[in-house]
Subunit: 204 residues, 2 copies
Amino acid sequence: MSHTIKVLLAEDQSMVREALAALLGLEDDIEVVVQVARGDEVLAAARAHDVDVALLDIEMPGATGIEAAALLHRELPRVKLVVLTTFGRPGYLRSAMESGADAFLVKDAPAAQLAEAVRKVLAGERVIDPTLAAAALAEGANPLTDREREVLRAAADGSTNAELAKLLHLSQGTVRNYLSTAIQKLAVRNRAEAVRTAREKGWL
Amino acid sequence: MSHTIKVLLAEDQSMVREALAALLGLEDDIEVVVQVARGDEVLAAARAHDVDVALLDIEMPGATGIEAAALLHRELPRVKLVVLTTFGRPGYLRSAMESGADAFLVKDAPAAQLAEAVRKVLAGERVIDPTLAAAALAEGANPLTDREREVLRAAADGSTNAELAKLLHLSQGTVRNYLSTAIQKLAVRNRAEAVRTAREKGWL
DNA sequence: TCGTGGGCATGACATCTGTCATACGACAGT
DNA sequence: ACTGTCGTATGACAGATGTCATGCCCACGA
């Protein structure tokens, strides 16, 4: 209890990362011992610095914070995991929890919640926004199959059916079938809307 | 010179905003005297607190940081303007400068540049990333007409031609014409790619 | 072992999208 | 006065997209 809490901070935007570090630095019982800017540097950094809590942004190059969380959970199970994100997408919350996260915070929550969350997870508590939790439970699980998600993700940048077919080694008709079922499952009118709502829900 | 620099901080994500405030709070000569979370609260706050420098995030509800900058520039010309953004889009830089910004920073620049920029703009200097400046000059101006931009923006969420026509009070054929010319000007294959590249360039 | 669902494919059809030619009025610049 | 550009519109056409029926193979759970 008496020694300071060692925190790893993973966030790709330097200015935000260092600002968050400054914020946590104001707390007497918390020390940011290592910062990384990429998801695929998290594990090594956590090992090297024997951290108590990892603070992981989701949107990062190399690997997402959720992927990093899953890896840490497997390799260093005693490290507590706080997942931080810009977007309060219910699907994100769901996958973060499935990856072993102990806390899930959105960046537009009050700053005080950050240090608070760090202390709480270390005490064995879980921290999640009740509103988001309700939304995650209400919307149910991702209805898309793996292939549907793959195709939708690939279609997100405006690629044409022919390009998607080549890219995914499928026939053009199959691509259209997957997109069609995805469009119906999401109850929208075309692929662009499908991409949009899948993103919003965190299903993409 | 001797009294502290009064800063207004506008950024919608509380955690980031307060973290940036903490960061600036570490500097002896800088004081964040007021924080706002919306673009349309900037002017009143700047007036009420007689600030020296306004730090404006671009992506905000109410009004963008660029719109807020233009307004401040007109109403309170002695306030120096630092525009801050997640995305280093050349078109953003261009419109920020046209709106009277004195500095343009991207959030993945080192945190030290923030305080530095505040001091520099107050000293009458301009602060911009040379690489971004080059890109902004190289890519030239936005080739889209007002209507083309409007239609493209409206089409971004996957709306169909019929919906766009209704929304914009145009005939369906006209909508298609605008999208067609936009697609050609941007040298892409369909509306989705057009939206994508227009966004990337900061032209949307 | 049977049924179900996923992954994959084809063909046919209707609709949506993108292109092009053409046109007219407004307005700015030469 | 002439030209160019923008906003708006139409009609025709080709190609892309979305839907549907149907079929095959495979794995998995009842």
